[in-house]
């Protein structure tokens, strides 16, 4: 669709700069949306897409630059103000109240009525109108939690439309949808375009960019790399725009690229883990599987990197292997050549598996308990076989771990929550190393950690593989993944789209596969 320079954009952002303290997250970014277009916003994790959207939606008040909403300069101080200006955002984690009805959700915060009483009949009729407008045939009184995710998303869109949104921002809307549901969403988007609305669409998926995108803008490290009509931008170029940079500051040659010097064990290591047609349920009220048909093998002393963007299923794969979903997983898992069923985290630990979760504060550590307690938590069955604990034995074990991991803490009785991010991660790693695992799953092992601590963790990972531990790790930092992994497996929408052997992977090829480009 051609965008002539004579038409006024619905929204024009110029020179947007946003800082968080000393951290510059957006630098002089310009972005606009014209009526009747779908403008794709693309970029790796951390490129600044979410921040840009939040600036537009009035979530942040303190940014530099200017925004024109429908030709008039404005600086909304809250999302409500931005909504009144005609911009609505549909976030990935839908902002509906599950227990309330569709009508109540749509009119949330805007219930008009005398003396605070809700005019139910009026709301119900208006809701029915809006729902009809988008082709959704459900009763306005249905509680939202009874609806499938796809329908909930459409309710969110209806909510935005009922507020006369002229610009809709959709953040990865298809991550929880099946193919026919995606079709429904796309035909609705087409209708919204014909009505002259503008859509900002954030996605990682190459096939979607080609299918509904009119224009594409790529952000990288907080800066706008470029904008192009979608038809004119090739997949390769798009990937290069997203990725083209030197290896990040967090990576040092000292850690060594494993592609050049594999550990002796990796070359001759025996098979520790093999997956055949492994699948993991989505469990979001969606019929989709989070992970589907994955074949994978992992040998002693090897590091296999799992690459994947948001929604690719890498974390779910690791959780599913660890027994977090019980026996709901599909396919077969072989440990040391023998078919095994892992039905719970306890099972997993007993079989020599360990999982460092992606969010140490939420699922990795008990923040209100001392380091000492956290470090032995996963191994109590071995440290206290009859049930009765031997505090001296535990203290000796944790002392050894603290030394091995170079943990910096005033005392091991400090609460885990008082430590820095890097030290917290070391406590979590210590907990798992204590169990003596043979296969170690690392989900984002250096997330939110300073450069120095990252180096130490890379060193530890190398040491562990030298001891014969097999490692399956994920990371959204491509340079880190490329440097650490012996082999890389790429997931896109829960399926393996590429597998790279030793030294074969490049940042572009991995990202392209992660975005679903057919190779």
């Amino acid at each position: 669709m051609d965008v002539a320079g004579l038409v006024t954009p619905l929204v024009r952002m110029s020179g947007i700069t946003k800082r968080f303290g000393r951290n510059v997250v957006l630098r002089g970014v310009s972005f606009d949306v014209y009526p009747g277009e779908v403008h794709i916003l693309a970029g790796e994790n951390g490129a600044g897409k979410s921040t840009l959207i939040k600036v537009l939606a009035g979530v942040y008040g303190d940014w530099e630059g200017a925004i024109e909403y429908f030709g008039r300069a404005a600086r909304p101080r809250s999302p409500v103000e931005a909504m009144r200006l005609g911009v609505s955002v549909i976030y990935q984690e839908l902002s509906l109240v599950p227990a309330m009805s569709v009508a109540d959700n749509i009119f949330l915060g805007r219930t008009r009525g005398r003396g605070g009483f809700v005019p139910r009949a009026e709301q119900r009729n208006k809701t029915r109108e809006v729902l009809q407008g988008i082709g959704l045939r459900i009763e306005p009184d249905t509680p939202v939690e009874n609806l499938p995710i796809a329908a909930q998303q459409l309710v969110e869109i209806a909510k935005a439309l009922s507020r006369d949104a002229r610009v809709l921002v959709m953040d990865e809307p298809t991550s929880a949808l099946t193919a026919p549901e995606v079709d429904t969403l796309f035909s609705l988007i087409g209708k919204l375009k014909r009505e002259g609305r503008g859509i900002v669409y954030i996605t990682h998926k190459m096939e979607e960019i080609g299918r509904i995108g009119d224009r594409v803008t790529v952000l990288r490290d907080g800066e706008r790399v470029g904008s192009r009509p979608a038809r004119e931008l090739t997949d390769a170029e798009l990937v290069r725009w997203m990725v083209g940079r030197d290896l990040g500051p967090g990576f040092s040659p000292a850690a060594g690229s494993r592609a050049e010097s594999p550990s002796p064990a990796a070359v001759a290591g025996e098979e520790r883990l093999r997956l055949e047609n492994f699948s993991v349920p989505s469990g979001q009220g969606s019929a989709r599987l989070a992970v589907e048909g994955v074949d994978l093998e992992l040998r002693a002393g090897e590091i296999v990197g799992l690459a994947g963007l948001q929604g690719s299923g890498v974390s779910q794969l690791l959780l599913g292997l660890f027994g977090s979903y019980g026996t709901n997983t599909g396919g077969s898992v072989y440990l040391n050549g023998r078919k095994t069923v892992i039905g719970s985290p306890q099972d997993a630990i007993r079989h020599g598996l360990a999982l460092l979760t992606s969010d140490r504060k939420a699922t990795g550590l008990v923040l209100c308990r001392p380091i000492q307690e956290n470090a032995v938590l996963a191994d109590l069955r071995r440290l206290a076989p009859g049930g009765w604990r031997a505090p001296a034995r535990e203290r000796a074990a944790v002392d050894a771990l603290a030394r091995a991991l170079r943990l910096k803490a005033a005392s091991l009785e400090m609460e885990a929550g008082e430590l820095s991010g890097g030290n917290q991660q070391k406590v979590a790693l210590a907990k798992w190393i204590q169990t003596g695992p043979r296969v170690f799953f690392l989900d984002e092992p250096t997330r939110g950690i300073d450069v120095g601590a990252k180096q130490e963790i890379y060193q530890l990972i190398h040491e562990w593989t030298a001891q014969g531990i097999a490692i399956l790790m994920t990371s959204t930092e491509l340079p880190e993944l490329l440097a650490l992994s012996d082999r890389i497996v790429v997931l896109h929408r829960g399926r393996v789209t590429a597998a790279f052997g030793r030294g074969q992977a490049t940042a572009e090829s991995v990202l392209a596969a992660a975005m679903g480009v057919e190779s």
Partner: protein
Amino acid sequence: MANFLRLISTKALAGPASRAVVALLLMLIVGVIFHADGAFYRIGTHRDALRQASVPGILACGMTLVIISGGIDLAVGSMLALSAVVFAMTAVWWSWPPAAAIAVCLAIGLLCGSASGLLSARLRIQPFVATLAMMVFARGLAKTVSHGAKVATAVQNPDGTYRYVSLPPVFRWIDSRLAGDNLSAVTLIFLACFAVCWVLLARHRWGRYLYAIGGNEEAARLSGVPVAWTKTTAYAMSGLMAAIAGICQAAQEQQGDPEAGAGYELTAIAMAVIGGTALSGGRGGLGLTLLGVVTIGYLEKILSINAVPEASRLMLTGVIIVAAVLTQRRRNT
């Protein structure tokens, strides 16, 4: 002077143990102020305070375990009554040997507690709701079993007349005083319960599981902690404590009263909370609860020697609980 006080208060309120000690000291000071014509200084007053705090104290031991795991047990008062009634029936009316009567009561306590635990841990019903249901159910069961009347030494004959049986010696043993009338057997039983719970919490891996679950249940689960089983056994322990408390209560009152223990769950919670065990879970301990038991014990005694009416007592207890929780709130730096 202001700086001095500020320094003292910062140090004194630094850790949960010191805060609990401060609470106890404040309570003793209050006792000195409201000494009711010197009644507070009599040795008998202190003796009684401890003895009267023992039965709720037993409940507080089990309650502490449950609260640390992130839950709450509202049913302990009712389970106490059920146990008291069953103990009186089996030991007095049916003349069972004491060991058998006690065993049955303990079994019932374990059963009710486990039921609450299963509802909460496996069926994922909120502990508040699950134990509220058990509270009502157990009370109803106690009244049904006792036909709504106190189970005492008067036994109804088939023809409607009454005969009197004597109280079995076990009642007197439990209610007896030792060490020259200064220590009651019930207090010893309380201390024994305290010791058992303390050692489980401090020295058994089950105790560590409780803290982990209360602190971060998901992290505990992913660390291989058997969450459902641990939670269930925590409630089972609470039920066991309630059963023991019921037996002591029956012995002290020389009857099994189906209305006994009403409101005791709140006293038990107050004892745990004043001691410093956080209702949010993951923090606290039995040593702290012991301080809380003594503090609340003195509170009740001070109110009683000053002849404060029942209604005012309840209001005062409510105010004190809020004050205790506020001072327990951690100062986040």
